[in-house]
Every structure is written in C-alpha cells, then in structure tokens.
Amino acid sequence: MLMGMTCQESPPLLHDLNRDLVWRGFVQMLPIALFVMVFGAAFGLAAVQSGVSPAMAVAMSALVFAGAAQFAALDMWGPQISVITLAATVFAINARHLLMGATLYPWLRHLSVSRRYGLMVLASDANWAMAMQAKDRQQPGFGILLGGGLALWVFWVLGTGLGVAFGGLVQDARPLGLDMVMGCFLLAMVFGDQLSARMLVIWIAAAGTSLLAHRVLHNNCHVVLGTLAGGLLSMAWVEAPSES
C-alpha cells in the first residue's frame, strides 16, 4: 500500500488518503449518518407504499444512493414508467454531482486514476461539503469524502431496510423536523466558510438564479443553473491582489 506516500511535494498533503483518515472521516460523519438513517427509513416506507417491492427499495438505496432522486422516482412509480422522464429527472437532480467532482479535481488530480474515480463513487452533499471545508482549513479532505461517504451509505441502506421492515415506526419525519437535517447541515457548512463581501455577492447571484429557475422552469435544474451563475460571476470577477 502506497497510500499517501506517492506525492510529497506539498507539506500538508491535502490529497493524503490512508486507512486512519478514512476511519476518522467515518466517525466524524456518524452523527449526521444517524439522521440519514431516519430518512432512509422514511424512504423505505414511502417506497413500499408506492408499490416498489421491499428488496428493490433496498437495492435502489444501495445502488443509487441519492435521496432526492430516489424520492422523485417514487412519484413516477406505477404500472408503466417512462424511462426518458425518469432518466431526465434523475439526471437533473443529480447534476450537481458533476460540479462537485469539478470542484474536487484540483486535489483529485494528484491521485491515481482508479483512486480518483473510486473516491467519487460515494460522493454526496454532506461528505463533499465537509471535504471542501477541510481543504479550506488546509487539512486532508479525502478521508472524510470516502469514510464519511461510507457512513452515509451504510446508514442510508440500513435505514431503508428498517423502513421496509418496520415502516409504521416512522410514519412521517416532518413533524419532528427531521426532513430539515440535510438543509440545516449544508447551511452550517456554508456559514463555516470565511465570509467575504465578494463571496456574499457571488452567493446572492447563485441564490437569485436558483430561485428564479425554481419558480419559472419547475424542472429540477435550478441547483445547476444557480451554481453555474455563481461560478461564472466568480470567473469574471478577478480578486483584488492584496492577499494570497
């Protein structure tokens, strides 16, 4: 195993990856993963109620591992399902992964091809956000990307199984506020960043574009459009060269 020993040119080794870092990432994600298990249970119950067979519900969570897209798919589940509509919806909801992969690429490029793509297999909102935050603090972030992803995956699949088996236990996560876990978590990540006036303006552009697209287009592409708006503004707006 040559993990973490292949590239030694930069002192903090932000692209470092070894078993210890992965385990620490797993543990760091556990509090969120437990909440995700409750979502998983809600998904399992909803899936069975939508006519998905129990085994298929668990298989979907294990293979797709993307909550929002899976819930959207349930809305379409029926005797006849349009493949094109299902595919387009899943793509639109998950297209933000494309942008996440791109934002990680400056660090991923230091890894071997198999490791580079292997790390992305379990990338989702929470572990990506924590990995990016680790980078901002000049710490290695791939342990949390992989280990945290593993924690989320395990508890998402486990939760789905529980929901399928004992659905009555979690009739509805909404009265308990549990549907807001991911939203609150991601917001906490946003406010964990160092705020600058330039960043705030970029975020306002992203939020405004997203809201506009959400209200006008109704086709789940608001996240991507908002993100691209923020990215393009940032590209056009050269920072004042005061600090590095």
């Binding site: 298989a59 798919a73 494309l98 506020g177 939203g183």
Partner: protein
C-alpha cells in the same frame, strides 16, 4: 419508451437510475481532466463550491413552510454565534419541530 415496474423491468429501472447517478458522480472529474486549470477556471471552480449549497438551499428557505424557514434561520443564527455545526443543526431541527407543532413566534 416506458417500462413495467414489475420483475425485470423494475430491476432495469433501478440500474438505469444507478448508472445515471454514477455518471454524474464521475463526469465532473472526467471533464476536468480535459480542461487545463488556468486562473479563470480556478476562479470558476472556487465560485461554484459555495454556490452549489446556496443554490440548493435558497428554494428550501424561500418556498418552504414556516417550519423549514425557522429551521434554517435558527441554524444560521446559532452557527454565526458558536461556529459549531452540531449545536446549530440540532437547534434548527428543534425549531422546525416546535413550529410544526403549532408554536408561533
């Protein structure tokens, strides 16, 4: 084209969903291997990283119910004061639960 959500049809649908999702996870990296990382590209990437979250959260905050709004506002407030994610998230969920049980500000 449409498929029946029974037997093999159901499996095929799940595999299609899985393949598309995996493609989105890997695709961004594939594209970036073809793009030279110049200063503007770097600024584009840096701008996107916070924007993804903001673009995801904005409709949740503005078009959500009072419970969702209270949750996000509380999380933001606690986060700005304490800088600790877990207390901020817990307070946000508590706020949503309170509002949805009829508690008003």
């Amino acid at each position: 084209m449409s498929l029946e959500a029974t037997g093999w049809g159901e499996w095929l649908l799940v595999f299609i969903m899985a393949a598309i999702t995996l493609a989105t996870r890997l695709g961004g990296v594939v594209v970036m291997t073809k793009v030279p990382i110049t200063a503007p590209v770097e600024r584009f990437i840096a701008g996107m990283s916070g924007s993804v979250l903001v673009a995801l959260l904005a409709p949740l905050a503005l078009d959500g119910d009072m419970g969702a709004r209270s949750a996000l506002a509380t999380t933001a407030a606690v986060m700005l004061v304490t800088r600790k994610p877990l207390p901020a998230i817990s307070a946000g969920l508590f706020a949503a639960a309170l509002v949805r049980h009829g508690w008003t500000w």
